[in-house]
Symmetry: D3
Subunit: 291 residues, 6 copies
């Protein structure tokens, strides 16, 4: 069963978060890219320049982001240099990258390989670039961070303020149209579909954007506004407009959103990659409640 081979590669992956895992994922990426380059000569040049010619994941990623985000006034060499420098000085960034790759690979049924995510997922790429912009922001290099935000928004149509804090193991699926405000916080293992807004409200200058707990799932086109809390493991229905706190493991749907029930033992999809359920499945689960 070839699909199974992709899902359950052997030998089993190393302990999550370990350095071995980073090596293991990078090894997988190179193996995938080599296989694809052999099978598809038209893509081989692309795969060599983006993956196979690089000695590490951070180099490959810096190269790819530099080429994606550059413009005629912000050169690829400058951006490559910037990305590589930041990735090298802060190892947490790469560990987040690896967690995001695993998240996409195990939580998105359309993600057929790590290299597919690394090269093609605009949500993944926007997120990595934002983490670099965030790092710059914390170093008080705000104009550069904002220029990066602008390029990410132009190129990927993903607009995340560099001040926003984003955890690890994030899946921005499809990602087009995602907007995340300045004081937003996103926990670990969060899945966010496209057109989602974590927007501001309230008076000028304050803490005015949502705080998203670990393991939250936010459906297509959901709009979450204001300094509210979306509790751990909560689920936000597609198209919802959420203006109130959502307790942990609770689902909110509708415009304006109302709470439609909690679950005592939610599927911890992020902890069981091999048997992971589809992250979009929650909608059919709760759809019984609302119709």
């Amino acid at each position: 069963m070839p699909a199974g081979e992709f899902r359950h590669p052997s030998p089993p992956p190393p302990r999550p978060g370990s350095e071995e895992e980073e090596e293991w994922v990078w090894g997988r990426i190179k193996t995938e890219a080599r296989r694809d380059a052999e099978a598809e000569p038209a893509l081989a040049s692309y795969l060599y320049s983006t993956i196979l010619s690089h000695s590490s994941l951070e180099r490959s990623l810096s190269f790819h982001l530099g080429n994606k985000l550059c413009s005629s006034t912000l050169l690829s060499t400058l951006l490559y240099d910037l990305f590589l420098n930041i990735f090298t000085t802060d190892p947490n960034l790469l560990s987040a990258t690896v967690a995001d790759l695993l998240a996409a690979r195990y939580r998105d049924p359309a993600c057929v390989s790590f290299s597919h995510c690394l090269l093609n997922y605009k949500g993944f790429l926007a997120c990595q670039a934002q983490r670099v912009a965030h790092k710059l922001w914390t170093q008080s290099r705000k104009p550069l961070a904002l220029a990066l935000q602008s390029r990410i928004s132009d190129v990927f149509a993903v607009d995340i303020h560099p001040a926003a804090k984003i955890g690890k193991g994030i899946l921005f699926d499809h990602a087009t149209g995602v907007v995340v405000g300045e004081t937003a916080v996103i926990g670990n293992n969060v899945s966010i579909l496209h057109h989602v807004t974590l927007g501001g409200t309230g008076k000028f200058g304050g803490d005015r954007h949502p705080k998203i707990g670990d393991g939250v799932l936010i459906g297509v086109g959901a709009t979450i506004l204001g300094n509210i809390k979306i509790g751990e493991g909560a689920k936000i229905g597609a198209g919802s407009v959420v203006l109130i706190d959502v307790p942990p493991r609770t689902t909110a749907v509708g415009n304006p959103a109302r709470l439609v029930g909690g679950k005592e033992q939610p599927t911890k999809h992020e902890e069981v990659p091999g048997e992971s359920m589809d992250h979009t499945s929650f909608i059919s689960e709760w759809s019984g409640y609302i119709i």
Copy 2:
């Protein structure tokens, strides 16, 4: 009445779907481009490079897509070659292209000419490129198909999985933010506005995306989730979140969407180009029901 001239060009177009129609449309496109190049020197270079220097519609389109979708790591020459090769070997693709051009021209009131659609409509261009990606997918050239999907999503903000099946005579109007999942099927003569999602649900790996019947109209920002059927001639209201089957010739509106009435003899807008109604008009028609 100049506008009428555009709507009712003489001599009348040949039989739909015939080879003569392809020739007729390509002839119209060249005539339009020549007229515009004469009237607007600043645009002449653009029109010659994209249309007037080419000997056929598939060459013009392959050139335009190659230049639009290329990047520093996926060269325009490679993409041009790929597109031209696929268009040449499968004549069904070009016949679908022509049907899409006619759909835009007769169903979108803002579409002033065939060449306007060919050059400027990101929904049209994304759709043509997706059909090429789909062809690659069916040939098991999946990594290339996925790389193409990624470029289409970056450049046009239209994210259609290469495995999705799309009919002929499709109008993706404005198109920004459209997302169509892996197992989705779109029939013929479907009109889809921007921010529309045909998204997945359910367990991993199965058939999990909507099936859209012929002649369906999907309003701005509608979200249709799961392996559900939208019947022939149905209409989905703007901003709806649809989680249930919609019978033929029925309208669904709201979040979550409910059915608001059917019509026995729907306007078959795709068959009466000359008198075609505005595809966006349905909203005012059924808006009486819901307010």
Copy 3:
């Protein structure tokens, strides 16, 4: 208090709409850019090429737009020439530009400087380019205007028909996914969030898009359809689908939208820049009504 310095620059700005104001804003932009270039060498090249090497705001803006919107078939030099020519011949365009810069600076809490808006705000840039396209449209240079619209939609994911009329002091915040139809009219001092559609409805060719009054606020993802009036100072809630007229100073929310109350003395945020409130704050204000 450094943040205050940005908010209340001294000396106070000149009379709104005056030529002095244009000079003052341009002077501020150069000062900001010079400061940032000194603090951040990695960005200095970018700031010199886009701002500091230019002798006027219209040159800087034309250069930036030309480089942003160019493609391999529409060269930057051609677009630069076009933009500069239009800006030079119609001084109203620049005065609208300045009003938009002030709007972003004083109404968007995330806008830390004028230069930040000028360089990085895709909504601002799309709006300036659309005004040029609109000018071309009124000069019957429609194919060029439409080509420009297409480039703006590709690059910024903002799709505004060149025939649409847009006032001054406009804030398109985040802007991704905004669609504005052919016969839409937008008044002065309007704030429009991302994913907002001012869409068409009704029979072919007529006046079929919304008319937005002065000072209106349109929340994230709102969809306003048909030739309806949104009265002066009205507010449209996030995610709303509006199919009916909204009286002045009234708020509409929901899908379909209903009116939820008016205010006799609305905060005229556009007239009190120094003390300006957050434009996104209105949602929490009226949220009490709906939950």
Copy 4:
């Protein structure tokens, strides 16, 4: 006789150096380009972007030079702006351009049209760009002038110091490898073949390069070194190394060069365009003397 038609276009050209002549040449260029664009669709885009979309010769030339000489760190828009500005403020530059176009058209048998020279002759283009660099040099904008020299040398392999003074009606034929030093002076109606060096000698900082009189002809690969005078109408044989003054209307040949005879009534080739002799013919004329 089609060749004759090119040589003796009717109506006859206006008085040399007059404003009418500039208009006449620009008119010819546009006529040629239009004819070529019609005959060769593959070139039409190129001809429209470089010539037919422009309202004047200086715009066309500035555009073409800007696109030829730009690099990733010196943008085409910046160079276009620079060239156009200099051409506009100093009308002498354009008059020299026109004289050079006429020189190529009437003195080079391989020059089939004015537009051919304008678009394709690297010697012509290098010369126009050098005149702009020279203007910058005289305005004490030396770093910019030197950057321009470097780009001209990279792109055209023609290396003329911006301080060198160059007259009008110059033909740099083929031009590859031409080097002209800082204190060199070139008179009017001079023809210089490729690989020619007007090089320096002597102690640092002084006036150390050749002075070339009006109507001089310098053959392929000639090397002229030091602050020496090449008199009016003199001819320098191919491959010569000239270290001594050459009197007017005298021919110098060999390595080191010796004088091989003068002519009392030299063919003033630049004054009789219609019957112009081939500028390279002189070599066979004097070759009788030396073999």
Copy 5:
């Protein structure tokens, strides 16, 4: 002896000029490129895009030339299309290409592989592009041919008029600065070093450039002027200025050149590739005569 392996690859090459030879050379090129891509990841992307992703030599060459010769106003896709079309319709061009590859491989000691020549030799590339320009010239597509000449001269500093006739098995070694005039003819198996000029002389419009016989060797910087004959197997010394006919198998040296002796049985270097002598060796052979 690894160097020998390159010189005498086994199995032995097929009959010169046969179709099998074309296949054999293309096979060698792919083998070399695959070997180099494996050994040097940094070059793999380049080798895949230029060679390994292509199904034939003419596609690889057209792709490479299109990317080398393109400019912002002459797109790579247009040039690729043009080259591929000409190469496909005239098989003689490819057979000349193969003969040139063999000439470089066996006559230039610095040429370590066929792929090295195909990718890196500007003389080889300029020559292939000139043959396409020549084909266009004979089809009366002169403006396009001249535009191509101009690009070749800009990019490779090799300026060969498209009307010049060039045989097969040509080696333009180093090539910088080569200039060949309109009525020049170059026979088969000719070797031409850099800075060589085949220049014009005589009255306007006639047949005024050199005719170079088969197997001629022209040294560095030689200048050959006028409609003179350089006989079969003749040798022209470095730095010579040749104004007279040179009989077959005769050597000419000096400025002006004089004949310095013939050879009855010249080394037919082009017929004995395996034992081929260095083409630059002739200079030391005859240098005994002249010093």
Copy 6:
């Protein structure tokens, strides 16, 4: 005397070849660039991107070379990475770079500043890139070294085989058309003008190119062929064709070159930078002998 200020900057430069000298030169370059950026806003962006945004000379140079030498199939990021890596691992390269900068600054009267040489001298840039190619060659990374040679020849028209050995303190003045063969060796403090060839002769595969001693001066267009020795401090006249050994401190001129006298105490121009004589002056010195 402003020119003097450039010649004798205070404080005096540190000991030649020391690390302090590298720092001193890099400091000078940044000072010059800052001064020029202030004086010329049109160039400021260029100066910041190439010099002022970099933390070291090797980074600035790697960036500049990467952007100069890149092509659509050899990306700037790849080249930048390659150059930076090689410069970082072999400090001898940078020390040679500094010696070359000093050579240009003190031996070329047209070199007004270190930054002028760093940015604009194609001979300097080609030489630095060749040293990197040479390093690759010695590491048996020959295909990459040869690809680099090809790019250098395309971009700078300077063709130096990567196997050639080049000393320190080299001045390639103007540089267009320089060709240096595989087994050539160039000593320290050598000055080479444009169109100079150090070419091969003799049988295949052997040591067949010239060996150039320390302090040699080679005039414009000189051609030196075969495995011959040009002794220390020798001078080769412009346009000479040298086929024989030239003893130390001896001058050779003519075609073929003959020796025209030695000097017992030659000006060791490379050791007295402050009072350095013009390197081109030697021609007038010995010209008395030959005429």
